[in-house]
Symmetry: C2
Subunit: 153 residues, 2 copies
DNA sequence: CGATAATAATTTACATAGAAATTATTCATA
DNA sequence: TATGAATAATTTCTATGTAAATTATTATCG
């Protein structure tokens, strides 16, 4: 079979393909440390910001609280984080690093390795531009979604 | 809380954020038609290429066969596709459109609507460039992954 | 002040994804 | 041509994601 399939000129499709390649790469790098990408993301948020609520962790990762709540559960079992009650708001939970989680702080820089690998074919200007384009597209998507909710489509 | 959180300058993170916004947008557009993104993707592949094997569908979508096998199962139950045995290779399965799946062909163009929404803030040149950059990044990731397997890291 | 609305987290239900193992079939080659 | 390697699909297991419902707590406002 010489020619490949017909595929649409779809930004959504290309976004998914690139993201899935990126995520596979990160998973590979994290494998020796027994960390999933989702877990690394939580640790990274804590390394950079200190203690955070589940809501904040979810915001940073860009997904819904239930997903984050479960990841934190697993990380608790794995001894990577600690959970305590927020003193000022008893609804809220404070998630912080355990000693074990703190000791992995050197893994923070993995995202830089990934940047280097993914951006290898691009010039510094193109790389910078790419990041900005991704951000524009994300904002355009979110803006449309927010408006579609107002209109109650 | 005036200032947002500290987040890494991570291409992987920005890819995930943009992709998740895009996917949420598509899901919203497909909702009235009772289709998931995964199902639309299978239909789109069939609309553009005619009958395909599970392996081919998985390749086009860019994921592993088990995922595709399951989606096809659900679509069979929903009457969107038909399954038959490949005449030349009895291991292979041929997935084709049912009448119901054929009747949804007008939904093929949804990806163009999504392109318009996501690329709205960009000029045509920037849009074209963005698509190429996504492709470069995907290839860089896949190349690295393939090499890491040879080296048996 | 007290009723109602909003918020934080979790639970449940369901869809999706990958890896590994399994089965059936085909290919390659000695 | 017979046997071992490769391939196509599926099943099982585990991890992850969203949406909706639930619980507990806090905020708002008449």
């Amino acid at each position: 079979m010489k020619y490949k399939y017909n595929t649409p000129y779809s930004i959504g499709r290309q976004l998914n393909l690139a993201t899935s390649a990126s995520n596979a790469l990160v998973s590979k790098l994290l494998e020796p440390h027994d960390l999933s990408l989702a877990q690394w993301t939580v640790l990274s948020s804590l390394w950079q910001n200190g203690e955070l609520s589940v809501k904040s962790l979810a915001e940073i990762k860009g997904n819904a609280p239930p997903a984050t709540s479960r990841i934190v559960d697993r990380m608790l079992s794995g001894g990577l984080v600690e959970r305590s009650q927020n003193r000022h708001d008893r609804r809220a939970v404070t998630v912080g690093l355990s000693q074990k989680g703190e000791d992995l702080r050197h893994l923070q820089s993995i995202y830089e390795e990934v940047n280097v690998i993914l951006l290898e074919p691009l010039s510094p200007e193109e790389s910078e531009n790419f990041f900005k384009l991704l951000n524009s597209v994300e904002q355009a998507g979110r803006t449309w979604l927010a408006q579609s909710k107002v209109g109650d489509d």
